[in-house]
């Protein structure tokens, strides 16, 4: 198990966004969290990546506590541990958030070199391997504005992979892509899982979840409504809310 989330609560300005969310993610597993916009999917991802602090709950990444609930509130890891935990997490943003002033290679090696002190040569070698795996070798010295949406996404994946994370999170990976590129990102995600990463992806794209995920969590109004393996999920949909959402794909 590379990620464990227990009893996660979060509210913004008194309005609950997450209520008692618990799930686990195994090594090499692909888990999709689906649900309509506003269901709290992105907030889960932001909590797991410590971009927002949860109110209550425990999050464990590869055995280390990002935050631990003491029965009253959630206590976060100290700064030094936080950096170790960050290294185990990768996040690919919905709009990628590449650094526009850096080349593809610089985007990938920036954190390994300047945050984690990896020697430049090793970091660049690793970056080249990643770019090769993602079929971007020829874009190594391009700048983000010169890339297509699909290429930017692969650079973002390479950047997130550069620290050898155990958990790879992807926020709406198909939203910025042309339909014909969806199979490509599905294959890439499968490759990451084969490398041993746990992949947590968030999407409202049902057909994509059906294509790539091994397990599916359905969320509505901040709560987990259903959690099943993919086949079970699509074979026996009992919950009315899930039925409404899935519609044609069932």
């Amino acid at each position: 198990m590379v990620l464990s989330v227990q009893g996660l609560y979060k509210s913004f300005k008194g309005k609950p966004v997450l209520e008692d969310v618990s799930f686990e993610l195994g090594k090499g597993e692909i888990l999709a969290i689906i649900g309509r916009s506003g269901a709290g999917k992105t907030t889960i991802l932001r909590c797991v990546n410590n971009l927002v602090k949860c109110d209550r709950g425990t999050i464990q990444v590869d055995g280390m506590y990002l935050c631990k609930d003491d029965g009253e509130k959630s206590n976060y890891a100290r700064q030094a541990d936080m950096l170790k935990i960050r290294k185990k997490l990768g996040l690919v943003f919905q709009n990628f958030n590449l650094f526009p002033h850096m080349s593809v290679l610089e985007n990938i090696v920036e954190a390994p070199i300047n945050v984690f002190g990896t020697p430049k040569k090793d970091a660049e070698q690793k970056a080249m391997q990643l770019l090769e795996m993602l079929e971007l070798e020829d874009k190594v010295s391009s700048y983000p504005f010169e890339l297509s949406g699909g290429q930017k996404q692969r650079v973002a994946i390479a950047r997130a992979c550069a620290l050898n994370p155990m958990v790879m999170c992807l926020d709406e990976p198909t939203s910025a892509l042309d339909p014909e590129l969806r199979e490509g990102i599905a294959v890439t995600i499968e490759k990451l899982a084969q490398e041993g990463m746990g992949v947590l992806l968030i999407t409202h794209d049902m057909s994509f979840a059906k294509r790539v995920a091994q397990r599916i969590i359905f969320m509505d109004e901040g709560q987990i409504v259903e959690e099943r393996s993919k086949d079970e999920f699509f074979d026996n949909i009992e919950n009315q809310r899930v039925k409404n959402f899935i519609g044609d794909y069932a």
């Binding site: 990546n49 410590n50 971009l51 950096l83 960050r86 290294k87 997490l89 990768g90 996040l91 943003f93 709009n95 958030n97 590449l98 650094f99 526009p100 002033h101 920036e110 954190a111 300047n114 945050v115 984690f116 700048y143 983000p144 504005f145 950047r159 997130a160 620290l163």
Partner: protein, 214 residues
């Protein structure tokens, strides 16, 4: 005529030197100070933000000439005395740091919040995020506005005549009065034009240097 111009040269060049000194020192100090002002304006420490707001209001809301007069002629009345040169510099630096601070703040605020998120998940500290991610992108955004301010600064240096510093305009005015001639004033004008033309080229080159990305 040519002889006259050559005879004027030494006093003009000495005036030009003072102009350039005030220009350079003001820039070198007020730009980093402006960055600090911009960072301070974004701080969560409310009193600091309030103090900086008042500072910017005063500096932008009153004439630079008044600020120079205030520091050199006004402050001695309450026992704070500066020589003419430091008095002029203090006024210029404080004034320009306020303008630069507002330009930098605009630049920083126009950078997508996603850049901070991306830096954070990659383990960047806030200081590293600013230095490696925000600052380089901000420079590109603010360059045209900074170029404007810098050209204004060249011309503003003429204001130091009020404390009796021998800068370019003063050198021209003295020669013009003494010789009852228009030539020194024309020369002063030409020298300012040359300076601003040079700066325009320098900033064009800088903007080209940052044009490698969008």
């Amino acid at each position: 005529m040519i002889d006259y111009i050559i005879r004027l040269m030494p006093s003009m060049l000495s005036g030009l030197q003072t102009t350039l000194e005030i220009f350079a020192i003001t820039l070198i100090v007020s730009i980093p100070l402006g960055i600090l002002v911009a960072i301070g304006r974004q701080s969560k420490i409310k009193p600091l933000v309030a103090v900086l707001q008042v500072y910017i209001w005063v500096m932008r809301g009153t004439p630079l000439l008044l600020q120079i007069v205030f520091i050199f002629f006004g402050l001695p009345i309450i026992g704070i005395t500066f020589d003419r040169y430091p008095a002029a510099l203090i006024a210029f630096i404080l004034n320009y740091a306020a303008y630069f601070g507002e330009i930098f703040r605009g630049g920083i605020e126009s950078i997508d919040k996603g850049q901070y998120d991306a830096a954070k998940v990659l383990g960047f500290t806030p200081a590293k995020t600013f230095k490696r991610i925000i600052l380089p992108q901000m420079i590109k955004i603010v360059l045209p506005s900074i170029a404007n301010e810098v050209i204004t600064l060249v011309k503003d240096t003429a204001l130091v005549y009020v404390v009796g510093l021998g800068e370019l305009l003063r050198a021209g005015k003295i020669a013009s009065n003494r010789d009852a001639s228009l030539t020194p004033l024309v020369m002063v004008g030409v020298l300012y034009l040359v300076l601003t033309a040079l700066l325009t080229v320098v900033f064009q080159k800088l903007e080209e240097k940052y044009a490698y990305y969008q």
